[in-house]
């Protein structure tokens, strides 16, 4: 059974105010599942490779969000939004990510609006509709 806690087992030596090392990273089980999904069935992934990927994806999050945050600071806005993330991706060389992310964001906002409208009108269809919409979004995102 995989250790869901992450690559680091250093739990006991941390004080309350310090971020635990394992909390810096996404859970290794979730990362491992995503890795397996893209590979053929005969492929295997070593534990160390999953740990390397945990580090890489956490660095990716910091890299992108720092760029977006800096943009907001310069424009004297307090809230970082999805458009800033898309801009940051394009700026940092992930051009092929930025366009799918914009479309994903646009569809997400549509779903939110529809959901709010349905709530206001007190109809009963919203759960199914939203689930179906998000399912389509999920498929499209993976399809890159």
């Amino acid at each position: 059974m995989e250790d869901i806690g992450g690559s680091s087992s250093n739990d006991n030596n941390n004080n309350g105010g310090i971020i635990k090392e394992q909390d810096r990273l996404l859970p290794i089980a979730n990362v491992g599942r995503l890795m397996k999904r893209i590979l053929p069935q005969n492929a295997k992934i070593s534990k160390e490779a999953k740990e390397t990927m945990q580090e890489c994806v956490s660095e990716f999050i910091s890299f992108v969000t720092s760029e977006a945050s800096e943009k907001c600071r310069k424009e004297r806005r307090k809230t970082v939004n999805g458009d800033d993330i898309c801009w940051a991706l394009a700026t940092l060389g992930f051009d092929n990510y930025a366009e799918p992310m914009r479309r994903y964001l646009h569809r997400y906002r549509e779903v939110e609006v529809d959901h709010n409208k349905v709530n206001l009108q007190e109809k009963g269809n919203s759960p199914e509709e939203k689930d179906d919409e998000l399912f389509k979004l999920s498929n499209r995102g993976v399809g890159l």
Binding site: M35, L39, A49, E51, E59, R73, K78, L92, L105, V142
Partner: protein, 145 residues
């Protein structure tokens, strides 16, 4: 002066999807590197190789050494691959000896299987293979079809 900032509720969702794509892109490229070396297990050195070869992944170069301990491990693996290739070439006409070679026993059963399979595939092309190292790549292409 550091001003406190907030994030929109759409950002966790958006970053989540971006991370999925990032993980799968990096994993697939690492797998292609592993496959090129006739391995079926993705290792950290495969990921490291991709990071060094891809411009957009340059921001990750600082965290790779820590994760791999040191690059001598990486170099050692490359050397090991070269050794396997040499043995494969030398033993083309000594199949029985190849199977009994003690060096092969040190590899995992899976790797041994891959090597045997590769060896069998190359037998019909002995003359071409011996004369032209590029044929190795051609045969890889043939096998992939």
């Amino acid at each position: 002066m550091f001003t406190k900032q907030m994030i929109s509720s759409e950002i966790p969702m958006l970053m989540s999807k971006a991370c999925e794509i990032f993980i799968q892109e990096l994993t697939f490229r690492a797998w292609m590197h592993a496959e090129k070396n006739n391995k079926s297990i993705v290792q950290p050195c495969d990921v490291a190789k991709v990071i060094m070869q891809t411009d957009t992944m340059n921001f990750l170069t600082e965290i790779i050494p820590n994760n791999l301990g040191d690059f001598s491990v990486f170099d050692a693996k490359e050397e090991n691959i070269a050794n396997i290739a040499e043995e494969n070439e030398v033993s083309l006409s000594f199949t029985a000896g190849f199977m009994g070679n003690p060096m092969m026993k040190m590899d995992s059963e899976e790797n041994a299987g891959n090597i045997v399979e590769g060896n069998q595939a190359t037998l019909p092309y002995t003359s071409g293979f011996m004369g032209n190292p590029m044929n190795m790549m051609n045969m890889d292409n043939v096998r992939m079809k």
